[in-house]
Point group: C2
Chain length 131, copies 2
DNA sequence: CTGTATCCGCATAGATACTG
DNA sequence: CAGTATCTATGCGGATACAG
């Protein structure tokens, strides 16, 4: 550590209003949201449930490639975060229905805006800058 | 493969049992976008660069907690995806300036919408419903 | 100043098997 | 039908050292 260190309390002291302390980073609502639904399956499930309610195996079959473990984890997390509601019908055989909560539905709006942007700009993946 | 498979051309299926093939999942623009900027630092960098151009060490100091490795990785990926522009000034000592491309700037809009939602609904983390 | 190289820990994600 | 349990593989993220 060089002694020339100016003693800035965790945040640079530019004239600009963007010091971004760790505190802010952790508190950043967008980052937080992304860390919640930014995984491989969450958003897909939310979008799917945005259309109608689904049963477990129905989801499992609908989203090909997802394992039971991952589907269950995803659903549990979404439920825990208040986006998805889980209803159990004690019938024989048992059936469990998953649906979007009002919170989950409200998320679809801003998500659509982002989706539109993504579609409009296509995935820069292979369509990289021609020059 | 199963002959009962109906061939749905839409990413976000429609009303009935939608198969959501792996092909479609990979093509989902939102999922794709999330996988690109949904990591720990990308979005933060984009937002920061949305204010003004930054130099490498400036970013490094501004975002406390990020390692050189991660900052470089993040910047390289963002640059590769066309969100960030990297300009090298061969001075002594050398200086590199990072700024947002028009594409990067345009991303700020839908991102803000999502941010507003996130803020409005607070993070369900600790402010969970009644709990 | 602006990076790159290497090693390591941890969380995430998948495969598989088993259960109420 | 609707999960849980276990094991493993991979990648992300961080620390440290070194280089142009």
């Amino acid at each position: 550590m060089s002694g020339t260190n100016t003693d800035m309390p965790a945040v640079i002291a530019h004239e600009l209003p963007s010091p971004v302390p760790l505190d802010e980073i952790a508190a950043c609502p967008v980052t937080d949201l992304f860390r919640r639904i930014g995984d491989k399956w969450s958003m897909l499930v939310v979008i799917l449930l945005g259309k109608r309610a689904y049963r477990y195996n129905e989801l499992h079959r609908s989203i090909e490639g997802v394992s039971q473990r991952m589907l269950t984890r995803t659903l549990r997390t979404l439920e825990d975060d208040g986006f998805v509601r889980r209803e159990v019908y004690p019938s024989v055989p048992p059936s469990v229905e998953y649906s979007l909560t009002p919170l989950g539905v409200s998320l679809l709006a801003p998500l659509s805006a982002l989706a539109e942007w993504a579609v409009a700009n296509a995935s820069p993946t292979s369509s990289g800058p021609t020059a």
